[in-house]
């Protein structure tokens, strides 16, 4: 299958390892990955902040980059960006009265998947250890991000994949379904409330004794990781694509204190 990667702006600029890991996983399954170079961002920040007019060129750019590219399905390692492509792009096009853009956006949205959705539903991955060679001998806790959980209805696809990673010690996160408090510009406009939500999320992550908190959205992980870092915690964050891509031969690079739970030290 020919799979177009939508890296998302935050992964492209801040977490290239997540995009590289996504490519690795797909190639390991025998698929071709293409990167439509015109891509930039889904525009969610603009839409969610009320700047619909400013979102129009961003959305138009994404649609142009993806509806001309040659691929079967598109994938992004981010539930919230995929939700934006699927739910917000047609709405933005409607808001500026562009029916042609709306139709194209709807078509692109229908072909766009979140990573775990693509792996489980389309590519038939049921055992990451066996099918991808995923090996990650660390104590990990998992935060399901709101947009993946509530807009895309990812269900337990992400945690199911994580559970099948060899060597992983997956600890349940208390109050996992609670928002981490990121919310895009909410974290700046309502910084106090966002911080209070983050505090509770960080405390729950710490309570699991995990070395790492993982999830499917780089932005939420940046938020949670940024809070843990500020509090001087040794727990860090890592995108689930990087855990799935990690193998015995090519282990994911992990920063922070390493508390290997299976007795096999990685480094």
């Amino acid at each position: 299958m020919r799979i177009a990667l939508f890296a998302t702006c935050i992964v492209d600029a801040m977490y290239p390892a997540t995009a590289k890991a996504t490519v690795k996983i797909l190639e390991r399954l025998g698929h071709d990955v293409v990167f439509p170079e015109g891509q930039a961002c889904c525009g969610q920040m603009h839409v969610n902040s009320g700047y619909l007019k400013e979102a129009v060129p961003v959305v138009a750019n994404h649609v142009a980059a993806f509806d001309t590219a040659d691929y079967d399905v598109a994938v992004a390692p981010s539930g919230s960006c995929v939700a934006s492509v699927k739910h917000q792009h047609p709405m933005v096009a409607r808001s500026c009265g562009d029916a042609a853009l709306e139709a194209r956006a709807t078509a692109v949205g229908a072909k766009t998947y979140e990573l775990s959705e693509l792996l489980v539903d389309v590519l038939g991955v049921t055992d990451a250890g066996a099918q991808l060679g995923s090996y990650f001998p660390h104590r990990v806790t998992y935060h399901p991000s709101c947009h993946g959980m509530r807009l895309l209805r990812l269900g337990d696809r992400q945690s199911r994949l994580l559970r099948t990673v060899q060597g992983i010690d997956l600890a349940d996160l208390p109050e996992a379904d609670q928002c981490c408090g990121f919310g895009g510009t909410f974290s700046m406009k309502n910084a106090d409330v966002s911080s209070a939500m983050l505090q509770d999320k960080a405390a729950n992550v710490e309570a699991t004794g995990a070395e790492l908190c993982t999830g499917g959205d780089a932005s939420c992980l940046m938020h949670i990781g940024g809070g843990l870092s500020r509090q001087g915690s040794s727990t860090t964050t890592l995108h689930l694509a990087e855990i799935l891509a990690s193998t015995m031969e090519e282990p994911a690079s992990v920063t922070g204190e390493v508390r290997v739970s299976t007795g096999k030290a990685l480094r």
């Binding site: 600029a13 709101c146 919310g183 700046m188 406009k189 938020h223 990781g225």
Partner: protein
């Protein structure tokens, strides 16, 4: 606009206690400083949330019920004028009197006039959001009429000269020791040996209220539903105080928002399943009172209904926002909202707090009402409210819609654009082309420089400083993915056709 909903030309927006006195971030900052409040709220919302989840999970047809509730409400909004006329005809035919109020001031004047006509100076009240909304108690007090709240939580809040913090559990922000202290201080004749044991506190309130019920000649109520086909009103409650108010006094004055209408008696079935489960986490509430006009020799002989607009027609005119009027005031959205859970209701500055308040208040008052325009931003858009809403109000989408109304209403009105305006414009340029983003990413090494040796950025200027208030930013990578990809794939990937022929 000449005539709308059978009323003369309307002021577009509502008035009264719908307005925030300060912006949400400012009020939230203050409320967040109250550790006791946060602990009380966290405990209470979690308890109700769990109870609700349990009773909702019991119903195999919960989603269909939500769809039915949503569909009925949508049809009500689509033919509200006609249903109101039908209701008025039936209510009047059974001996009730209808009064139309376009805003808070008119509604208050009507109620005060009706009370004055009875010659009484005291009224008992069953909890009513509509009368909170119009500030009826305060208005009556100015007119020399004392209003006694009879709902236990509402009584606590009233005795403490406080405001409700939750629409279902108005005293959610107070614990039992605080309540005992309020009773000792404010309740006439309270036993000095009062303990903080909930049954003891409830009995003290009961004794106090019983005296009021048996002497009051006038009651003021709200209504959860009004049935157009029979002219019937309904109040749903837990304590029985409502039934006392609805049956004992000679005069009953109900104040109800025009959106509370349901077409038929049968439609009530759907809502009697949705409401108790969503609000108190019970399969059925203890008391449901329905009354249709006047019955000679039984119950109140003078029955009035004030039908309140107060911005509802304005909300109805907002195509994207009008479904906020589907709200049945169950508070499920509040109990699952992470923002509400931490700030409490007072931070919203309106009778309607929480996620529904964040859309309803600006819809009723207009986004131009300055402090209320901060309400649609009081959400991380996590979507928990939409999942919990028994009538499927898409609160996150309406929040986003109202944000865009706010941004658009301010375009070109400011002498100096805000940092957000400037930032969003710049980001729109950077993010609307792969080339632009690639150019911006050439600056990543600068970010690495700023991060320093510990690879963390700890302080950003301007509004971005909100982020670094409690979070670090990791040092950016040396190379963006885009650059890495370009170097890895110098020759373009073979196209599908080439590949297939290989």
């Amino acid at each position: 606009m000449t005539t709308f909903l059978g009323m003369p030309a309307l002021p577009a927006f509502g008035s009264g206690n719908l307005f925030a006195g300060e912006s949400f971030p400012k009020a939230a900052h203050r409320e967040l400083g109250n550790a006791q409040l946060r602990a009380n709220l966290g405990h209470a919302t979690h308890t109700i949330r769990d109870k609700r989840q349990a009773v909702v999970s019991e119903l195999p047809d919960w989603e269909q019920l939500r769809d039915a509730g949503s569909a009925i409400k949508e049809s009500v909004m689509a033919r509200l004028p006609e249903l109101l006329e039908e209701f008025e005809k039936n209510f009047t035919a059974r001996g009730g009197v209808i009064h139309w109020a376009r805003d808070a001031r008119e509604a208050n004047e009507i109620v005060a006039g009706l009370v004055r006509a009875t010659g009484e100076t005291e009224v008992v009240k069953v909890k009513s959001m509509a009368t909170q909304e119009i500030g009826l108690n305060e208005y009556l007090e100015e007119q020399g009429i004392e209003a006694f709240e009879t709902d236990l939580a509402e009584l606590i809040v009233q005795l403490d000269h406080d405001k409700p913090s939750h629409i279902l559990v108005p005293a959610i922000h107070k614990n039992r020791t605080e309540i005992r202290d309020i009773f000792l201080r404010e309740m006439p004749g309270a036993d000095p040996a009062l303990t903080n044991d909930p049954p003891v506190l409830a009995m003290a309130a009961r004794e106090h209220l019983r005296r009021k019920f048996l002497t009051a000649k006038v009651a003021v109520s709200g209504a959860n539903f009004a049935l157009a086909d029979s002219g019937t009103l309904a109040v749903v409650e837990s304590e029985g105080n409502g039934r006392m108010c609805l049956t004992l006094p000679e005069t009953l004055i109900t104040v109800m928002g025009i959106e509370k209408l349901l077409p038929t008696w049968q439609d009530l079935e759907v809502f009697m399943q949705l409401l108790p489960r969503s609000s108190t986490g019970e399969r059925m509430n203890p008391y449901t009172s329905l009354w249709t006009g006047v019955t000679e020799g039984d119950g109140p002989q003078n029955v009035h209904l004030v039908l309140l607009d107060n911005g509802r027609s304005a909300a109805l005119a907002d195509e994207m926002g009008r479904s906020a009027l589907h709200c049945i005031r169950c508070s499920a959205c509040m109990n699952v909202c992470p923002v509400y859970e931490r700030t409490g209701g007072h931070a919203y500055g309106s009778t309607y707090p929480g996620p529904i308040g964040a859309i309803l208040s600006p819809l009723l008052t207009g986004i131009q009402a300055e402090e209320n325009s901060s309400l649609p931003y009081a959400s991380s858009l996590c979507g928990a409210c939409y999942d919990a809403c028994p009538v499927k109000i898409n609160i996150p989408d309406i929040l986003v819609h109202l944000r865009s109304v706010d941004v658009d209403s301010k375009r070109g009105t400011k002498k100096v654009p805000s940092q957000m305006d400037v930032g969003m414009k710049a980001a729109s340029w950077a993010l609307s082309s792969g080339k632009h983003l690639g150019l911006v990413e050439k600056g990543l090494p600068l970010g690495r420089l700023a991060a320093g040796r510990d690879k963390k950025i700890k302080k950003l200027p301007g509004i971005a400083g909100g982020w670094t208030q409690s979070r670090d930013i990791p040092a950016p990578p040396a190379q963006s993915f885009r650059d890495w990809w370009a170097k890895e794939h110098k020759s373009p990937a073979p196209s599908r056709d080439e590949k297939e022929t290989q």
